[in-house]
Symmetry: none
Subunit: 110 residues, 2 copies
């Protein structure tokens, strides 16, 4: 059930959840820190994180009283492949992305 198109696409349909995923691209985060930039309650963020977890897009691990959220990008693979099936759109994206990463890693030692 998790990791299927029926859970992945609805999970990605909400802009808050997509923003959370983008934040987790930088680093693992605690629930409270995920919630900080958003103007909504912690409970609302907690629900979003639950949806992302059930979709397999993130994993949550509790250490002490802090629950850490970790991106699970492989969960997007199915949806990505599904979309590629429609695509005459080309891997120019990947090439450009690799160039982007190179310059990014060169200029950002942090």
């Amino acid at each position: 059930m998790a990791n299927s198109l029926d859970t992945i696409f609805p999970a990605l349909a909400d802009p808050t959840r997509r923003a959370i995923l983008s934040m987790l691209l930088e680093d693992d985060m605690a629930v409270t820190d995920v919630a900080e930039p958003f103007e909504m309650s912690l409970a609302a963020i907690s629900k979003h994180l639950m949806i992302l977890t059930r979709a397999g897009l993130i994993a949550q691990e509790k250490r002490g009283r802090v629950k850490w959220c970790k991106l699970e990008p492989d969960a997007m693979k199915g949806a990505s492949v599904w979309m590629q099936g429609f695509g005459q759109f080309e891997p120019i994206n990947l090439d450009a992305f690799e160039r982007f990463l190179e310059t990014e890693l060169d200029s950002a030692p942090e």
Copy 2:
């Protein structure tokens, strides 16, 4: 608005709409023929097609009394690129990544 993540992902979140897109992969179809395999009213299918159209995922062209539906796979490009950005495990500069996405989407074929 069309062709943005805020319309594409919600459009892809419904299984009926994804099935319609898969059907259109084979050939252009009239609205009635799109509706035929589904156990729901024509009006419901018409709404789904409107959502897909507003997302830019299909185009509808009326010839006579028949409205033809045609897949527009390039509309998935933005979402596809966005997801591929998560295929990387390296921590990256998010601002730069967003700038990258913008230029990437600007260069999308019309």
